[in-house]
Each structure stands twice: as structure tokens, then as C-alpha cells.
Symmetry: C2
Subunit: 344 residues, 2 copies
């Protein structure tokens, strides 16, 4: 059965907003993020979990602000994060007067939320929000050790990004009339492909890139088989977040199947930090990583005319520490959306 | 903005299957569940987490079997559970060759998954599966204490159900031609209302019913305001799972607003165990509770002609133990679908 969904009715990304911490501000994309936290990444809160929730609140508030709409103008918020029971989203977004759908896609959550938002906006709804987050300090103590422990990191380990992004999707072209995007190209989601959960037998929780790359390869191979397009039809194919290790594996896996994406591939985890100066090993990861890179790098590229046609593939590792302790391997997943530039 | 979604194209529940443990088998609905585990609820696995995953695998396999279709005939599986990072679903469903969307709605997950499945089947897809689960032993040790500890339970505490259910939704009426449901009435999802996250300030993690009841009241009040219908238009209004405590609060909250649902209200958590003999305090709960009660009680009622028109409201408490330890209150959520009987 063919799984590629060609979205029949235009769904626009009306606005996006990104919130990051200090390490991300000091990376190559630093100047493009919308909100940067205080110097210790607490966002004014007394626990790291509350800091993460506050980042989601800030991201959605700013995205609504950019879109010149209120929370009650949204028909649904789709959101998720890495905290147990997705508490970052539940607590971060409870103050918004909007129907709420919780998602769990691990680091693929931004893509999953945008994918579902675009399907809902092209059918039953007008406007949705897609929100996700991760915070380095809340993730480290939940998945590994509290920061104070000073645990050693493996060379293949990725650094959980302190970041949150929110995206407003709409099927109403008129919504742009209130915003600043009157003349710029705007992003439009035209296709979607839901990922399959793929378990390639990786049991090393310090090498998530290797666990997720087979899922990304499966999604990309299905996409190009079903769409009939070529990698050269795209300005960029952005995965997020395989990091250096997983990206290298992905390009190997696809080229073995005759699909060479290397000329247009980039990965959120590879470009958010400076590899020479920031000591982040295999790159960035976390629900916030691909989300803030999409907002600050790719969508900016569409709005400034540098990108006209792209694929965004959010990758996630569907594990938890208990499963790893019990010797389970790590299933990966990768959800794809195609984003093109459109003049409103 | 009105939030009630009237589903424009018929979406049928093609099949459903329920899997439960011994306590559930010994309850009033015992004979109606499709699969009952071994005497110690391990489902042949060596950890409780693996047992829960196995229940999801069994539930979806059986539902596919009843529907006379294969996993590759589905365009998406929407699934979630209570384990950290929804690992019950990720590991339980990885063997199916189907695009996978992870959800987190706590105990509202069955309703959230059915709601989204019905929206997708009425627009971009033909067939989806909605799956959820909980296991008493994996939930107890994750949220509270390992069973071996023998912790005392508060009178307002609910008992996490060992159960999983899978539902196949379809927009293809012809799909019934292969199944046993040729002449019976079949369930059709006609309306959906996404819940808002409501924080009423409850901080007692032993009283989830009180935390979720305000969200259920909000959803029901919005539904009856927007639909123009009355509770008497329905054969049953089934919440799941508020238990005895939460159900009583719900009826109080809605009647204060002039909406008396008491004549037709029932709750999955109240009917899954025998209150006199099974010592389950405030009733059942967990992602599996409302799911297996919907499959074994309500949908059976539709197929046998006893129910023609019902509301199913899945309720969830969007918290985690860390948030409770940090003094946070517990937001609740309640997603609604309307299910009516249709002759194929």
C-alpha cells in the first residue's frame, strides 16, 4: 500500500518561534533564534522540568504573537517532549485555552506534530499549533545522570539541545494579511509520509544516531520510490537529529540502495553547534533540536528565498532507560514532510 | 471558536479486540474480553514492561484477525500507554509493518487515538488502528512502588487495569464484507471533540478522579452547548476512567451548570471490577481500562443492538511523579467521540 500523502489543500506554516539556551545561542545559528534564556538556562524557574515547560509556553506565545492571532483562534495544539509522560508539554501549555493533543515521537516529535497539524488543517480544521521541546538539564538527569555527577560522554553520544519551537499551521491564506509575511515567500506543507518503527538491533544508548538512521533510510527510500522524485529535486533534505554518527550511517544506507542524498543532505544535530569549539561530540539531539533548527534555519531560508523545496525528516529513538536496562534494542522512527515556498 | 468536529464521511470501527489480566477476567465483564493472560499476568515475558508490550501486540493481532486484514492494509497505527516514553507501544508494535504515530494522553489515550484515527480515515486515509495499554505491575513500580513493597492504597486511589485494546477504523464499507458483522449493526464514529487541558489545582496523586473530572465536565459542557443535543438523546455517556470518586464529582460539576447526565452516565473504572468483592477502592484506571471496557461492553452493546447512540469520553491525568514531587498540581484532559449504530 502506498503511504505517501499528497496534501490536497494548501497548508501554510503561518509563523514559527524558537526558544533556546546559552549553548545554542553560542552556536552557528545563535543569532537566528527568537528567544534566548537567562545565563543559566533556568528561564526563571526553580526546577529544570519547569524551565522546559516555560520554554514551550514562551515558544507558543511568541508564535501566536508573530501570527497575530490568539490561542482561542487555534483548533488544536499538538505537542510532545522527552520528559516522562510528556510533562514538559502538559505543564507548559496548560494555560492556553485550546484543545490539546499530546504526542510522543521522541526526537521526531516536531515532525510528527507538523505532519498531523498539516493533515488536520487540510481537512477538519483551520489552524493548529505544533510544539516540542527538550532541555539538556532535565533530559540528562532523567535519561542518564544529574549534571552535578559529571558523567563522561561517549564519542558517539549526542548533546540534548535546550530548545523549544512552536509552529502555527493554517489553511487560511487570509491569515497572512495580518502578519509581516505579505510579500515574502511562505512555507507550505505539500506532502507527508509517516514513519515506520524500525528496530535494527542497536542496544547502545550512547549511539542514538545509529539506532535512528535505519528508520530515516526507510522513510527516505519509501518517499523517493512513491514520489518518483530525485534528491536533486530538492534544495535541502534536512534530517533531525542523527548527528554526525547517524548522518554518516544514513548516507551509507541509502547509497547502498542506490539513493545518493549526500549533495543535499544536512542534519539539525550537525549544524546547531560548532564542532571545533563546542565539544558536543556527535552533535545535537532532543525534541527541541530539529524543531529550533527548522524554525531558525530552514524556514528562514524559505522566507528569504534561499530554499524553494525541501524535505524535513524528524527522527526519534523510541526507547526508555528501563528498556535499555532490560537489554532491549532501540527502535527508531522518522516522519517526513515536504515543505515548499509559495508566494502569498 | 466552535470545536465540535462533525465527521463528514462515515468512519466505521471495523473490529476491536481486548486483552486483560486475571483481576479483569474476574470482574463483571470477564466473559466478554477476547484474550486473558496466564495466571500471573506475565503474558509469557520476563519483565512487566515486556508483558505490557506483548499485550499490545496480542490486541492488535487479534483485531486485525477479526477484521480479516493484514498490518500492511493499515495506513497508520496510533498508539500510546503510560510507561515512560510510551515504551509499551513502541516495543509492542514494532513488529507490525505499518506507519506509526505515538500519542500521549495518559488514560485518555484510547479516546485520543480513536478520535485521530476517525479524523484521518475521513480525510487522508482508509484504515487506521488505535491501540493503548496499561499493566498494573509496570505502572505500580513506575508511578508508585514495586508490588513487592506492599504499599497501602488510599480510598480515593484507583487500580491500574492490566489491559490493552486495539480498534481498527475504516472508511471502506466494503471492508465488512469479509468479516462476521454482515448483518449486525456496526459502530460508526460521527463526531469528535478534542479536550482542553484543565488544571483545577488538585495535587493529590492518589485522587486522579478529582483531577480529571473538571476536564470531563468541560468537554461535556462544550459538547452539549455546541451540538444542541441533550443527555437523553444518548443511550449511554461513558467516561473512562474517573472511577467512583471522579464520577461523582463530574455529575456534581455538570449539574451545577444545568446539565444532568446522571441517568445515562457510566464510567469504565466503575464497571470493570466488582466493588463488593474485588477491593479496588475507587475503581479501575489506566490507558487500558477505558479501552477494554469500550471494546468489551460498549461496542458489544452496539453490535447486539442494545446501544444505538453513545458518547465515549476518555479522561487522562497529564502528570508525572517528578512534577508531583515538585508540588505541581495535576492537569486533566478529556477527549470525546460520538459513536452510533449503523446497519452495513
Amino acid at each position: 500500500m502506498e503511504n505517501l500523502i499528497r496534501i490536497p489543500k494548501p497548508v501554510y506554516i503561518l509563523s514559527s518561534a524558537s526558544v533556546v539556551g546559552q549553548h545554542e545561542k553560542n552556536g552557528p545559528l545563535g543569532e537566528y533564534f527568537d528567544i534566548v534564556g537567562d545565563k543559566d538556562d533556568t528561564f526563571g524557574c526553580d526546577t529544570w522540568e519547569k524551565s522546559e515547560s516555560e520554554m514551550q509556553r514562551l515558544a507558543l506565545s511568541r508564535a501566536l504573537n508573530y501570527a497575530c492571532i490568539k490561542d482561542t483562534d487555534l483548533e488544536a495544539i499538538l505537542a510532545g517532549d522527552l520528559l516522562n509522560q510528556c510533562a514538559g508539554s502538559s505543564y507548559g501549555l496548560v494555560s492556553f485555552e485550546t484543545p490539546f493533543l499530546g504526542l510522543f515521537g521522541a526526537c521526531s516529535t516536531a515532525a510528527e506534530a507538523l505532519l498531523l497539524s498539516s493533515l488536520l488543517c487540510s481537512s477538519h480544521m483551520k489552524r493548529c499549533a505544533a510544539v516540542s521541546s527538550s532541555h539538556n538539564a532535565s533530559a540528562e538527569r532523567q535519561f542518564r545522570y544529574p549534571l552535578e555527577y559529571g558523567g563522561q560522554r561517549a564519542p558517539t553520544a549526542q548533546w540534548t539541545v535546550t530548545g523549544s519551537a512552536a509552529f502555527i499551521t493554517t489553511s487560511c491564506k487570509d491569515d497572512f494579511s495580518k502578519t509581516a509575511h505579505k510579500v515574502e515567500p511562505v512555507p507550505i506543507i505539500t506532502e507527508a509520509l509517516i514513519g515506520k518503527s524500525i528496530d535494527a538491533g542497536i542496544t547502545d544508548a550512547n549511539n542514538m544516531g545509529a539506532a535512528m538512521a535505519p528508520a530515516a533510510a526507510d522513510t527516505l527510500l519509501r518517499y523517493f520510490r512513491e514520489s518518483g522524485l530525485q534528491p536533486s529535486d530538492f534544495d535541502i533534505i534536512m534530517t533531525g537529529d542523527l548527528g554526525f554518527e547517524g548522518s554518516s550511517i544514513l548516507c551509507d544506507l541509502t547509497s547502498t540502495e542506490g539513493l545518493d542524498i549526500s549533495a543535499v543532505h544536512c542534519d539539525g544535530g550537525m549544524i546547531i553547534y560548532n564542532r571545533e569549539t563546542q565539544d558536543k561530540h556527535a552533535g545535537g539531539s532532543g525534541c527541541g533540536c530539529s524543531a529550533v533548527v527548522l524554525a531558525a534555519q530552514a524556514l528562514r531560508g524559505i522566507r528569504t528565498g534561499q530554499i524553494a523545496n525541501m524535505l524535513f525528516i524528524g527522527t526519534g529513538a523510541l526507547m526508555n532507560p528501563t528498556a535499555i536496562q532490560q537489554g532491549a534494542s532501540i527502535p527508531g522512527i522518522a516522519h517526513l514532510i515536504r515543505i515548499t515556498a509559495d508566494i502569498v
